[in-house]
Structure formats: structure tokens, C-alpha cells
């Protein structure tokens, strides 16, 4: 399953009905933002309800357990609340929130990496010495193996592979949410993939 992320400007032109419903949703979001800024707490509650599924979807790719996922998702909406006054309405609220979500996830991964030594992530390396990658995939532990390998990547590498390969977002969409140029996204993705490959191969060989 792939989460449906907001259609960024790069997406194919949507049908007239889809455009209308998008416009209605955008208007609703904008009026909720205005109401929130005017001090209406209920409006912010509605904004959360409308967008939480997408936020959970992205955050769940980075958080290790439900508690972390809860904290990270809350952090996204808290950041949104703090920065709401800076929302100009030039782009849809969904895009703005998507950018905030990616930034929060990126910060989370960077924080996590600082504590990486304290975690027993290398338990999986022992497993890989005894069983090949194929065996791990066959045993239904593919996600676990990928998770282990991804945690060995830098925050940038992990973010880009998650967005590109797992969430299947386009290079253009990633460029829009990260602020990196499209060519930069491609180069980073290529390098990250190569690094992940090395980690998995070395894990098998050592």
C-alpha cells in the first residue's frame, strides 16, 4: 500500500471533478487555518483530524515503536501550530504540512543516530552471518532487515530512500518537500542506494 500524498504541481493534470474537490479541500483547510489563528481550538482539532492519517503514514516509516510514532506525529502538529502564522496560503496546506512532516522526520532520524550506539542494532548482523538476505526475505523478515540496514545510513540517505523507494514519491515531489534540487535528489538517492547495498552485502559476508 502506498499512501496518497498531496498532488504536487508536478503531478499530472487532475480531472475537473478532482480539481474542484481539491479546491474545496484547500478552501476548507485555509478557513480552518484562519479560525485557528483567531484562537479557535476546535478548528485546529479539525485540521488534525483531516491530515493525521498522512502524517502517521510518513512518520511510521521512521519511528521504531508506537510510542515514538505518537511522539513524532504530535511533534509534527505542534510545529504546525507554532508556525501556522507563517502559512501564507501560496501552496495548499497539505503541501506545507508535508514539508513540516519531512523536516520533523529528518530531525528525528538525526537525533536517533546520535543514540545509535546505545541501541543493540547489530544483533541483526549476527543473524545475517548465519542466514543470507534471501533467507531473511523468505522468512518474512525483509522489513526487519531493511530497517536494520537503513539505520546504518546517514539521516539524509535514510530520508531520501524512504521517500523515494518506500513511499514511492517522485524526484520532483521529494525536491519540493526537502528543498533539495532535483539533480541533488537523484545523486543523493544513487549514493544512498549504493551504500545500502554495501551494508547488506557486508552484513552477509562478515
Amino acid at each position: 500500500m502506498t499512501l496518497t500524498w498531496p498532488a504536487l504541481p508536478c503531478a499530472l493534470a487532475p480531472s475537473k471533478t478532482a480539481r474542484m474537490s481539491d479546491a474545496t479541500a484547500e478552501e476548507a483547510d485555509e478557513s480552518l487555518v484562519r479560525a485557528t489563528l483567531a484562537g479557535d481550538e476546535e478548528a485546529f482539532r479539525q485540521l488534525i483530524t483531516r491530515h493525521k492519517a498522512r502524517v502517521f503514514g510518513t512518520c511510521s516509516r521512521f519511528a521504531r515503536d508506537p510510542q515514538q510514532l505518537d511522539d513524532l506525529s504530535q511533534e509534527v502538529f505542534l510545529r504546525a501550530w507554532r508556525k501556522l502564522a507563517r502559512f501564507r496560503g501560496e501552496a495548499p496546506f497539505e503541501h506545507w504540512l508535508a514539508r513540516l512532516t519531512v523536516t520533523a522526520c529528518y530531525d528525528f532520524v538525526r537525533r536517533e543516530r546520535r543514540h545509535r550506539d546505545a541501541l543493540s542494532l547489530d544483533d541483526f548482523a549476527q543473524d545475517l552471518r548465519d542466514h543470507s538476505t534471501d533467507a531473511a526475505i523468505a522468512a518474512g523478515r525483509a522489513r526487519e532487515l531493511l530497517d536494520w540496514a537503513m539505520r546504518k545510513l546517514s539521516a539524509d540517505e535514510r530520508l531520501i530512500l524512504t521517500l523515494l523507494e518506500i513511499e514511492e514519491r517522485s524526484v520532483r515531489q521529494i525536491s519540493a518537500v526537502t528543498g533539495w534540487s532535483e539533480s541533488n535528489v537523484k545523486v543523493r538517492a544513487f549514493r544512498a542506494r549504493a551504500r545500502l547495498k554495501t551494508i547488506i552485502t557486508d552484513g552477509n559476508e562478515t
Binding site: M1, T2, E41, F44, R45, I48, T49, K52, A53, F56, G57, S60, P66, L69, D70, S73, Q74, F77, L78, W81, R82, T133, D134, I137, A142, R143, L145, L146, D147, A149, E165, I166, E168, R193, L196, K197, I200, T201
Partner: protein, 99 residues
């Protein structure tokens, strides 16, 4: 299997995995709003804490200035005598008026 194929299979497996967020969903809005309220009410308190170093620096600067300019001040004994004789000269002294 080639490493590239392995990677693709790993990514495919990760894509297929659909995390169950139903428990997280429950009362999520209430939890976020509670934190928003907490932050809103804590804003003044946190401002006060943030100003602490500035107040401390100000107090230190005032103390240093007073120490460096202490020569001209009357000592405790003469100050007591002056006060007993009437407070007005002391006030004049502090206001920098000619004696």
C-alpha cells in the same frame, strides 16, 4: 541473487507493510491539543526563565559598577550620623547635587 534485486525485494516488502495506527488514532487530537494548551500557558513561564541570564547579567553589571565607584560613597558610620542629622543631605549626595 544480485544485491540490486535483493534491495528491490526489500523495498517491496517494506511497501507492502501497512502499519496499524488504529491505537494511535484514538484520542490523538486530544493529546496534541493538551500539548498546545500546555505550551500556551507555559509561554510566560518559559519567557521568565529565558530572561533569567539577562537579569543575572544586569545584576552583575550593577554590582560591578557599584564596587568600582564605591570610593566616593560615605561609610556606614558617617552615613548613619548623616541620617540621624537629617536625611536631606544624603538624598542630595545620591542625586549628585553639590554639597
Amino acid at each position: 541473487m544480485k544485491p540490486d534485486e535483493s534491495l528491490d525485494r526489500l523495498f517491496a516488502a517494506a511497501r507492502e507493510h501497512q502499519p496499524d495506527n488504529s491505537r494511535l488514532d484514538l484520542g490523538f487530537e486530544a493529546r496534541v491539543l493538551a500539548r498546545v494548551r500546555e505550551e500556551r500557558t507555559g509561554a510566560w513561564f518559559s519567557w521568565a526563565w529565558r530572561m533569567c541570564p539577562y537579569f543575572a547579567a544586569l545584576a552583575l553589571a550593577a554590582g560591578t559598577w557599584a564596587y568600582l565607584h564605591a570610593d566616593g560613597l560615605p561609610d556606614g558610620e558617617s552615613l548613619g550620623a548623616t541620617l540621624r542629622g537629617g536625611g536631606l543631605p544624603v538624598l542630595h549626595y545620591y542625586l549628585g547635587a553639590d554639597e
